[in-house]
Amino acid sequence: MREFMNYITNAFYGATGWNEDNKYNELNATSRDLIDFPLPRGLRLTLSSLATPHFATSYQLGSVGVVDGSISYLHSSIPLTHIAAQSDKIPLPALLRCYRRLHDLRSPGQHYMLDADPLSAQSAQALLGAVSDTSLANGTLVGGNTGQDPSKYTHSLLYGRLYLPKSLLEGMVIKRFTQALQVQVRAVSEQSLRNGGTMLGLVQYDKGKYGLEGLYSTDGGLLGFRGLYNFGGDASSSNYDPWTTAAGEINNNANTGNGQAVEKERIYGRFSVGGELYYGTLNKSGGMSLGARFATLPAHRGTPLTATLTINPLMGNINATYALLAREYCSLATRVEFNVYSYESEWAVGMELWSNRRPAGFLLGASPSNDPAEPAPQPPKKKERSFQAKMEWRLDDPEPELEPTTAPPKSETDNKEQKNDEYKGVLKARLDNNLRIGLLWEGRAKSLIFSLGTGIDLHKLGEPFRSLGLEVQYSS
């Protein structure tokens, strides 16, 4: 389960039109989420509130043998009015993220400007929880990118969190300077750390087609540089330029839309390649890796899939992942790791299964309205639409060229959205080569979002349960 503050931060990204996934270290985010989802430990209770559109608080109380807790506050300079913060209204897919669809390379603002009806776009965004500012969209619509007021982007976010028994303080500042530049500073202060704490500075530059990131950590004087370059699919369109004027954009999209309509019949996706390089100036050590990803775009008609391959040439590590959205309610992921030096290998598989039965997914008592409607319609068409809906849940925007194709059943799409909104729970499972099983059941019961997880070790059948945890989250 994503923490509430994480959710709000993502909402801030959405509101300022920042594509947080266009980074190298999010290259294999999909399989990571599907396989390495964190299991709750002990009992944890979170009370959160988006008190004003600018201000959010969260209190957490946990007990893993000892009672601990944390208090966190968040301030955003941009009003986060468009998101659902109440725990009975938060769209579960936004919170219990699983298969992550590709964002469009352009900012949502530009995207929605193409939408005929801004209001509908905004409502969709509100459901998604990852949305553009209306004013931003309007500004883009009116003035275009180049003529845009830079102050629209100069928003900032402040976040602080105090863990109580440990006296550990976390702080984060996110400052957006221009549309393409964002700076993050994170700091942790704790007595046990060397020098009393560490700081991490990140400079992120996102040009759509490529994203660059530089970082510096005070711990060991670590310098890092990461870059991601996209090509193929929508990024390789010859006349693609994300920051052209709105009018040109429309024309371009109209042109490319025709081409893509043909391509969609085949497998249609985007390639991304990237690399990272680190060097510790104080301890004279470093590291690097290279990676590539292919992911289908939301416009793809077939089964959405994501495949990544990363190589660490220094350590001889090869890591390949493959994730796909088998059904709209089912995602699968596998990962294989191999080290050419030590011949060590690992594999892991992960799965998530959504359910719209009540209560909270998988217990008895299917809701009567959903079940008959779900299996009845013709599969291919429904599948396509469901992806569409899914994409929208994930902050994804409908391709402009999809508009004509999906235009006739628009109302049906809305129905789909509503239907999908009735997802009550998700079951996640993973298994790795050490025969360790992780099970996580998350869902909504009344207005509480819960997460119940356990780790099972099949090697120790005597006492297989390694961990057991329950997280309950309430927000208003």
């Binding site: 270290n25 942790v188 560490t198 990272e276 680190y278 470093g286 890796s289 350590m315 790791e337």
Partner: protein, 583 residues
């Protein structure tokens, strides 16, 4: 005087290496490891080699069957080797990330992927040159202190020998680590190992005591002193002593438990410091008490003769009681540190009495109190005892009291020679392993039945305790005192508070005597023992013993007074003479 250092038993004993490997492994994994080491450190091979170290004895500070203190110079350049195996994380970024809070982690994608490399390090061609101070005592095990940095050089070979800078780094780091290990950890390991070997509950494995220093080490219960004393320097009856055994019942275990020893120690210290608060020893367990039950096991004699032995030892015991009460109060401060045990060789026989043992143990508690009262008129040094043990009055116990007059004056005439003979015997030779071979033959002879021969058993076979106090007092006091553990000191500082001390001790001895008599009574009840020794000799004997005791006490006291500075000085000298300081 000759020492026999045996190096080969170390290598011959297969179990030794296993134990040593285990101990080393646990010692290496005890402290939290740096994140670069991702696995436990295992000691895969460990061999002390076939070349023994050159050992040069610089000084022997203290020498007894159960104690040893000396300074050695050791040079070693043998073929011992040690192989460690573990796995290390080769990716520096991985260890960097793992040690950082996740909030400020740079979150690398796969740049921090782990690469674990098995690492094997072999240490060989170890050259040592050290001054070793070795202190051995039965109760406290073996303590080794290095007075200098013993490591001269060693060769480190590892998996990464082909890489020059890694090899140099490992060589440097491991040398530094090993110095720490030898200086700090190794003494602790050896101490633990020695405790395992000589700890009372494990002494049965006597064959495992084949350690270099253990030539001086024997079963503490196998070589009993003649003048056994308890923790307060009080004389123990050899009946009780002889019945001490290591594999005894639960009482015996508790006798040797560290907790009790500590309490005894605290009690003794309380006397010295005039502390008002003395530790409350709830179920007072004295050596004599616990030992009684196991007498049979300790004897090496044929089981048929055990009843006789019981009685003979009781004969021996009584006279020494009187002797010692003076002796200990004056000078024999070292005595408490010795196990007060009768030499019985390896505990082999005595099964015949084993059955009766525990029943005796059950009765002892009552009897020791009862007997005390009836006994007090007979023994004059203990005469103070009677007044202190008020509980003796209300303890009206069963059959025990009836026999006490008879059991008290059991003093054979031959005792007379004991002190002189012992003195001669113990001065003439220092034996590290007298128990098994030396004691058995006299025992056998005494088991043949002649009562006259019985008292001679300790004289010939056992390096005596009556003699050794004198010996220590007159000849070896200077070197002995530095090594004296704390509990001994009260006895040394006796004179100032002598009277109060005596009463204290009387309390503690009271049960002992009671036990002795209980023992005798039981023997009599069994009916196997012969008639009690003739009463006529008793008076004469006691008078003589008193005289001897007084004489000894006087001589000791004189000696002490003659040069008091020496005594105090030697008391403070805990460090060796400067000649043996490390260079």
């Amino acid at each position: 005087m000759a020492f026999n250092f045996n190096w080969s038993p170390l290598t011959a004993d297969a179990g030794f290496y296993e134990r040593a490997r285990d101990l080393l492994t646990t010692a290496l994994n005890k402290s939290p490891k740096p994140p670069i080491i991702v696995d436990d450190i295992f000691v895969t091979e460990f061999n002390l080699g076939s070349v023994p170290p050159d050992l040069e004895i610089l000084e022997i500070g203290d020498l007894a069957e159960d104690r040893f203190r000396g300074i050695f110079k050791m040079c070693y350049s043998g073929d011992a080797f040690l192989t460690l195996a573990t796995r290390v994380q080769a990716n520096p970024l991985n260890t960097y990330i793992s040690a950082k809070p996740s909030f400020t982690s740079p979150e690398p994608l796969t740049a921090s992927s782990s690469l674990t490399i098995p690492l094997q390090i072999t240490l060989s061609e170890i050259k040592l040159s050290a001054f070793i101070i070795l202190v051995f005592s039965k109760q406290k095990g073996l303590t080794i202190v290095f007075r200098n940095d013993p490591l001269e050089s060693l060769k480190v070979s590892s998996t990464f020998d082909s890489i020059q800078f890694v090899r140099d780094y490992l060589q440097k780091t491991i040398e530094a680590k090993l110095r720490d290990l030898i200086m700090d950890e190794l003494p602790a390991i050896i101490h633990r190992l020695s405790l395992q070997l000589w700890c009372p509950d494990q002494v049965q494995k006597e064959d495992e005591e084949a350690k270099e220093e253990s030539d001086a080490a024997v079963n503490p219960l196998a070589t009993p002193p003649l003048d056994a004393v308890d923790a307060h320097g009080h004389r123990l009856d050899p009946v009780e002593i002889s019945s001490l055994s290591l594999d005894g019942g639960p009482e015996t275990q508790s006798l040797f438990s560290q907790k009790n020893l500590e309490k005894m120690d605290a009690l003794a210290n309380a006397h010295r410091t005039s502390s008002l608060i003395t530790p409350n020893i709830l179920e007072v367990v004295f050596r004599a008490w616990a030992g009684q039950s196991d007498k049979a096991d300790a004897t090496a004699t044929p089981s048929a003769s055990t009843p006789n032995l019981h009685r003979t030892s009781s004969y021996l015991g009584s006279p020494h009681t009187y002797t010692f009460s003076d002796n200990s109060s004056q000078a024999s401060g070292h005595a408490p540190s010795r196990p007060t045990l009768v030499s019985m060789g390896s505990a082999t026989t005595g099964l015949s009495l084993g059955s009766g043992r525990h029943s005796k143990a059950g009765r002892k508690k009552k009897m020791r109190v009862v007997n005390l009262r009836s006994k007090t008129p007979a023994s004059e040094p203990v005469s103070e005892v009677g007044s202190t043990s008020s509980q003796a009055g209300d303890s009206s116990s069963e059959a025990a009291s009836t026999r006490t007059p008879m059991s008290e004056p059991v003093i054979p005439t031959t005792i007379r020679e004991a002190p002189e003979d012992d003195l001669v015997a113990s001065q003439s030779k220092v034996r590290f392993r007298p128990a098994a071979d030396a004691t058995t033959s006299p025992k056998a002879s005494d088991s043949s039945g002649s009562r006259a021969a019985v008292p001679s058993v300790p004289v010939t076979a056992q390096p005596s305790r009556v003699a050794s106090p004198q010996e220590h007092v007159y000849t070896r006091q200077p070197s002995m005192f530095p090594s004296n553990p704390a509990p001994q000191t009260p006895a040394q500082e006796m004179p100032p508070s002598y009277s109060s001390r005596v009463s204290e001790k009387a309390e503690t001895t009271a049960p002992i005597y009671a036990d002795a008599k209980a023992q005798q009574q039981q023997q009599q009840q069994w009916g196997r023992a012969g008639p009690q020794p003739d009463m006529s000799s008793v008076i004469l004997e006691q008078a003589w013993i008193t005289k001897i005791a007084g004489e000894i006490a006087r001589r000791v006291y004189d000696e002490k007074n003659r040069n008091p500075a020496f005594w105090e000085d030697s008391h403070q000298h805990d460090i060796p003479p400067p000649a043996y300081e490390p260079r």
